[in-house]
Amino acid sequence: MSPRSLILDTLARLLYPMMLLAAVVILLRGHNEPGGGFIGGMVAVSATALLAVARGTDGALRALPLPPLPLAAGGVLLGLLSGVPALLLGHGYMTHLWATLPLGFTEFAVSTVLLFDIGVFFAVWGALGGLCAEAIGLDEEAGA
């Protein structure tokens, strides 16, 4: 039997971006529908795990926007910093600020809440994605 599965390779290439897209959609909808940064992050983690099975740990980690530990740290940092603007304006920490961007045809609400949720997303993706990928890597050579 061939060592690698062509079906897995091909579909992983297709599914990875789709899953990430789904993850982002879940992240953005989270404030009003089921979902949010954590669940979105978990979907992204599954995508990374899929890629780790298909292409190996290093391949999956390379596909992350940053190496996993900086990604996770950056996510937490983003979440942490999203509360800071309020401090500068004299509000309590984590007082979220809202603004609406007029886009002509519609309005788009931007807020530090979204930043926070994105921070959660990256933290989960970086940490658990890295963890799953590393775990899958535990047996890469030994099993082959």
Binding site: M1, S2, S5, L6, I7, D9, T10, L11
Partner: protein, 112 residues
Amino acid sequence: MKLLTVFSLLLRFLLEVAKSGLATAWLILRPGVRPTPGLVRMRYAGLSDTGVALLGCMITLTPGTTVIDIDNQRRELLIHLLDDSDPAAVVANVRRSFETPLRRLFPAGDQA
């Protein structure tokens, strides 16, 4: 032209899925005789990697058949059959329903 092929492929695929789904259900519930599973090889030609991967998917999605391996060197699919009573018919069906349209959509050398 391609769009039409895609559309007909999709339709045929869904039909196959429904048809063999019922067949499998019957196979399970049919009293008395147990099906004999088996392995068959099926050569393929004129398909790109993506094409053969898609072919594999379709075969797998069709109840009763599962692709176990795609051998790129020997250009062969290894298929597991739930009911091994008429393998030739199964292979012929696959060639007719899936391989031909896919060859048109993903010819060899056209690496998608």
